[in-house]
């Protein structure tokens, strides 16, 4: 199984953010996306996760499940956690477990992994920023997906929790997963590749065809 991106370009409005980028990520490998603020790391990750349309090129998961699209085989963890503050931790995790894909770890087990087993029945609204982030990380574990796309996963986490996250990622990669992460944290994994996203100062190919220059 490998994830292959071929000359992908992504636009944000008329601005070209990613231009002709190609990369491959093998099974059990991690791709670390780096780049300065505003260079387009999040845009690239959202495009891979299928949340932004590609202007050109293609992203494919070779050797994945034939009947599913790439975006359906991905866990996407963005800047927001995707948790409902009114519901308890258990209800939140139960929902995502029932709703998406095949169950993997039990909820209690994942909470123990992220060190929050005692919060099971607390409403998510009562938790601190870092704790919510850890619940969001637990969300990656409750259903089995082949690809994880994580955007600044350790934002708001303390040192120990960041270490915990690295351990989780490392276990995931050892298990044959593909990890794509935008982070400045040194991820101490066996097989990593890094991809530097450059700030572009160009516009989309068709930006001026639509009469903007007249």
């Amino acid at each position: 199984m490998k994830l292959v991106a071929e000359t992908i370009s992504v636009n944000r409005g008329i601005k070209r953010v990613v231009q002709d980028l190609s990369f491959e990520v093998e099974q059990s490998e991690a791709l670390i996306v780096t780049g300065e603020n505003g260079a387009g790391k999040s845009t690239l990750l959202r495009a891979i996760a299928g949340l932004l349309p590609l202007d050109s090129g293609s992203v494919d998961l070779q050797g994945g499940k034939e009947e599913l699209l790439l975006r359906e085989q991905c866990h996407y963890l963005g800047h927001q956690n995707g948790l409902k503050t009114a519901l308890s931790v258990k209800e939140n995790l139960e929902f995502w477990q029932n709703f998406s894909g095949e169950p993997d770890f039990a909820i209690q087990e994942t909470l123990e992994i992220v060190g929050l087993a005692h919060t099971l029945d607390l409403p998510v609204g009562y938790l601190s920023t870092g704790m919510k982030r850890r619940i969001a990380i637990a969300k990656l574990l409750i259903t089995r997906k082949q690809v994880w796309i994580v955007d600044e996963p350790t934002a708001g986490l303390d040192g120990a929790s960041s270490k915990m996250f690295i351990d989780i990622c490392s276990a995931f990669c050892d298990d044959g997963g593909i990890l794509i992460a935008a982070t400045h944290l040194p991820l101490d994994l066996k097989k990593t590749k890094s991809l530097h996203v450059e700030m572009l100062d160009t516009y989309a190919d068709d930006a001026f065809d639509s009469g903007l220059d007249t």
Binding site: L68, E72, Q80, A86, E91, N98
Partner: protein, 219 residues
């Protein structure tokens, strides 16, 4: 999908979710109308059904922005649209849950509000039935508006403007069938069936259009 349905109901129940906002708004509209038109009971009972419909329509529009906005804000929407479930089906379920939470209470409150407008028992019954059948169409049409404005920070008013022209037929046939139920020579069945048809029609088209919009309104 059952999980999603349960989640939507639970959130509305738990967080208040503004479920009662609609009913309270409905109550406001209904109570001020008699003050506005004066103490003419005959006039009141004549326009009562129409006022009930207008109130319910506006109250339904009021809550529509919550359909996708909250999921957008906490990032759930990104994950929801990436799943292997068909997006159209997902939106259909969300609409049904939204209707149960925010519009069904309006239908249940109608008899009380009908009394305040001096509507006859037959008129109240007809109002309840037509609202029950017709308001889902407003929610389904509203889903399209909600999906268009989901990336805007305060899209509530814009939804009303986008959706209002499209729901006017629902209002017309809703009031027409109540009229048919109260006043003998007017037909009831024909407008009522058209109202049912609106709901069935929009239950397919609304979620379909909304899903196309959600896929393309990516940011």
């Amino acid at each position: 999908m059952i999980a999603l349905f349960k989640r939507e109901l639970l959130i509305a129940l738990r967080g208040g979710g503004g479920a009662l906002t609609g009913v309270i708004f409905f109550l406001c509209v209904i109570t001020i109308v008699p003050f506005g038109i004066g103490p003419d009971l005959k006039l009141l009972s004549q326009i009562g059904p129409a006022v009930l419909w207008i109130g319910a329509l506006l109250a339904t529009l009021l809550g529509l922005d919550r359909l996708f906005q909250q999921d957008k804000e906490d990032g759930s929407l990104d994950i929801l649209v990436c799943q292997e479930h068909a997006l159209t089906w997902l939106i259909f379920v969300k609409c049904i849950a939204h209707w149960i939470v925010s519009t069904l209470p309006l239908v249940i409150a109608t008899p009380l509000f009908g009394l305040m407008l001096n509507v006859s028992p037959m008129g109240i019954l007809a109002s309840m039935v037509t609202l029950f059948v017709g308001t889902p169409a407003i929610t389904f049409i509203g889903a399209v508006g909600a999906s268009v404005t989901v990336t805007l920070p305060r899209g509530g008013v814009l939804i009303a403007i986008l959706v209002l022209p499209l729901v006017i037929p629902v209002l017309i046939f809703g009031v027409l069938s109540i009229d048919g139920a109260i006043n003998e020579p007017q037909p009831f069945t024909a407008p009522f069936l058209i109202l049912c048809a609106f709901t069935l029609f929009t239950s397919v088209l609304g979620p379909l259009a909304a899903s196309v919009m959600l896929r393309h309104s990516a940011d």
